[in-house]
Amino acid sequence: MKRYIVFIIALAFFIPAVRAEVQFSPELFDDLAQSVNKVPEIKIPDYERFVLNNGLTVYLVEDHSLPIIEMAGFIKGGRAHERQDIAGISDFMTDLMKTGTANRTQQEMDRFKELHGLSFGMGVKRDYFTLNGNALIEDSGYLLDLISDVLMNPKFDADYYQRKLMELYQGLSMARSQDPVLVDMIFYRYMYGDHPYGYDSDIDLVTNAVQNYSPEKLMEYYRATIAPNMTVLVFSGDFSIKEMKKEIKKAFSQWEKAPLTLPHQKSLAPKDKYGKIYIIHKKTATQAKIKMGFDLFSRDYPEETSFRMANMVYGSGSFECRLMDTLRVEKGYAYDARAGYNANKLGGEYAVTTDVEPDKALDTYQTVIREMNDILNRVKPITDEELFKTVNFFNALMPKFYVESIDVLESVVLNVEIWNESADRINEMIQKYNSIDAATAQREFEKNLDPEHFMTVILGDKDQIVPQFEEAGIPVEIIEM
């Protein structure tokens, strides 16, 4: 086992303090660090919402601060539409849609975007597709033309189809060299089982499914997922709403409505893998990459904000959280350690992630559990001070994420149109986290987390990692890649 020298020098070295106008002292810093921040209120800009005859929903907001236009958008459904035999098809479909259309070859599309300074992107989330784009305001017409062309006129049997397929295979092959990808594949495969939420992480599954892709399948999938009546677009910029409304109608009115429904809501897989530890063997790895987690609540969980505050105390990833305090500051094991979660429509997942030297794998595993148990068993419960710092932090920084009109409106639209929540959800959340106390945060932490159920995936050299667990009497399963 590789060991590194740790310097132990008996005496601390002090550099003499330089005389300054200010005499530095712990008291000075404590005095300067007193602050209770105001509860912020996010101003939602005046916007106009309208729906075209084909069901396309559009939000517009004027922002004349710069000569630009920005777009964000959502298409309901997302990865939840996928089946095992066509796993990953959402990503390939959006990739092809961005590459060219029935009206523009790839080269024409690329040239059009570059000459007019157009940015456009599509992404796939578990419960929706995302859209984004921008341009100088002078090019807003070109931007609308591009967006409508991509959404309305896909061409899946284009001459680049085979090349894109080859690139996809190569990309999947390359992904096998990436440690985080391998860890996620096992983690989400066991987390979500036969549910589309985990398909995109499973490169084995996607590699097998790719052989089922065809231009016809892609068109069929497009017709089942993309339609104006499932789409919401948001535009912000240096335009007049009146004029922009006309332009949007002109650009999108020919897009035909389709009788689509949201994906069938099948339940998540049973959790028979919980409590297990999987070691992905990689002989050349010089670190142990660790992911530990279990299932969590869905997006509509009413106490999500209280849980969020509690989890920030445990594992926000910043230096004051319990995990970083122990694994980095105290032990010097990790550069980064954090606990995060995703709350999807049908259920979510919670995961602690970190990377450490291989011979620290067991101690890190146990430390993650111990720190969680110390909260759960109220050995070290969440304190008022910790909660105050977290709330104070949110109160100070929250406004900066909502300076731009497009950011505020995008958030409003996501909450209203995708999650069926209030348009003022941002401010409701702010009020909520300001109303909770440490006991509430503690209760939510206890209610939702249980380290007994941790499913753990560790990527590293089994010869260095497995003996540690065996010695501690903890069974592990080896996965050879």
Partner: protein, 449 residues
């Protein structure tokens, strides 16, 4: 104190020559006004430079202090020590306990961070604007009063070693790039990466760290930027209070020049990867050299644009590569252009390299089209306007240009150069710098191939 606020007029940049099928909400204009962000500047007697960019959108402030020292200032024995010093700065002073910087900034609702680059090291705090003095006090104290406890220092060495494992050793792309860069630079400290070699990380001593800190962390080797909801005059007064009594000091640098490369260097690297990679380094001049703008345009036309020669021919037409990319390392000293290509197979690596070279030759022989030039100019114009959304980023730009070249307005000069750039300039840059005898090529292949 000097206040600068101008409106920059750019002529002719929107004269797009290609046809289009789109509709327009406004008529194209040949003139676009780019509002310049106003800033205030002040220099203390001890040489500390301070830029303030007022932005009253939200009651926050970002404080940054930039030291003119980075990995290109490090002798090989202590490679990565600038980055190690960045970590050590969080271990505290007599008045600031270990990690107190994070705790204090969090307490007021802010955060603190730091970063090390090839030619600078930066520390930053973002907090409620009323608490700016906390950031000022933290940075003033640790500019001169750093305490280096050997036990804590040793523990932090472990953290940095782990960071190296995470960022470099277990990432085939980064570790390959590190080796190719080391082969390209034999004398200059660009021989090593920012994080340094593992052996160095384990062998720094407290004395090494103390000496390095004392040599480079001085007011005349630093620039402060403050952006946010503040009043410039108050910021300058605060800076005088906290930093005014510090003495400037002599800052000496290694002064190592990389010898001229006269023949192509080649290395084959076996890595745990499923796909091959070609990495190439071409030497380029320092970041304020008159050829840099043409090199950036060349980079876009040859590799990075969607319609670049490499994407059009090697990727889309010949289907030889899966991906290509490149970037300019444009710093205080002569740097490099790094190009990477991901061939479809190990067997095709030589022919991919040959095809890449053929595209350079074609560009030199045939020149650059009007469309290619227009696309570059459009992209830069758009970036410039969108960059105005972040005043913090603008403040950083001022700091970096000041540290490197004592020329905060370099970005304007380079933008002006770009507006006059011709296809001939790009062609000349290719001919001058994309020379195979001055290049280092790395073939990265799966183990055993």
């Amino acid at each position: 104190m000097k206040r600068r606020s101008v409106v920059f007029m750019i002529l002719g940049l929107l004269m797009i020559t290609a046809g289009c099928t789109g509709t327009q909400t406004k008529t194209d204009s040949a003139v676009i006004e780019i509002p310049e962000i106003a800033y205030d500047y002040y220099e203390l007697d001890n040489g500390l430079k301070i830029y303030v960019v007022e932005d009253h959108a939200v009651p926050l402030v970002k404080f940054e202090i930039w030291y003119n020292v980075g990995s290109i200032d490090e002798p090989e024995r202590i490679s990565g020590i600038s980055h190690m010093l960045e970590h050590t700065m969080f271990l505290g002073t007599e008045s600031l306990g270990k990690d107190k910087v994070h705790h204090l900034t969090k307490q007021v609702g802010g955060w603190a961070n730091a970063g090390t680059y090839y030619d600078f090291t930066m520390y930053e705090e973002e907090l409620p604007s009323a608490k700016l003095e906390l950031a000022m006090a933290i940075e003033a104290d640790r500019m001169r009063n750093l305490k280096i406890d050997p036990e804590e220092f040793g523990r932090e060495q472990q953290v940095v070693a782990q960071e190296r494992r995470m960022r470099m050793e277990n990432n085939f792309f980064m570790s390959s790039m590190e080796e190719i860069q080391a082969a390209a630079f034999t004398e200059h400290p660009l021989h090593h990466s920012i994080i340094g070699w593992m052996e160095s990380i384990h062998n720094y001593t407290v004395d090494d760290m103390r000496a390095y800190y004392m040599q480079y962390y001085a007011p005349n080797n630093a620039v402060i930027t403050v952006s946010g909801d503040v009043d410039s005059k108050e910021v300058f007064a605060m800076a005088r209070k906290y930093f005014g009594s510090y003495e400037p000091q002599d800052v000496t640098r290694l002064g190592v020049t990389e010898p001229d490369q006269t023949e192509e260097r080649f290395l084959k690297l076996e890595k745990e990867t499923q796909v091959p990679l070609i990495g190439m380094i071409y030497k380029i001049p320092e970041g304020d050299h008159e050829d840099i703008v043409a090199l950036e345009a060349l980079n876009a036309v040859l590799v990075n644009n969607a319609t670049s020669r490499i994407n059009s021919v090697l990727k889309n037409e010949k289907k030889m590569i899966m991906q290509a990319g490149s970037f300019l390392l444009s710093v205080r000293d002569p740097g490099y252009l790094f190009v990477f290509l991901i061939p479809m197979s190990v067997d095709s690596m030589e022919s991919v390299k040959d095809s890449f070279d053929a595209e350079i030759t074609r560009l030199i022989q045939e020149g650059v089209t009007e469309e290619e030039l227009a696309a570059v100019k459009k992209s830069v114009l758009k970036s410039r306007i969108f960059s105005l959304k972040s005043k913090g980023s603008f403040a950083s730009l001022l700091a970096i240009n000041t540290l490197r070249f004592d020329n905060p307005g370099l970005y304007k000069e380079q933008y002006e150069s770009l507006s006059h750039l011709t296809g001939e300039d790009i062609k000349d840059a290719a001919e001058k710098y994309l020379v195979s005898t001055k290049r280092t090529v790395g073939f990265v292949v799966p183990e055993g191939k």
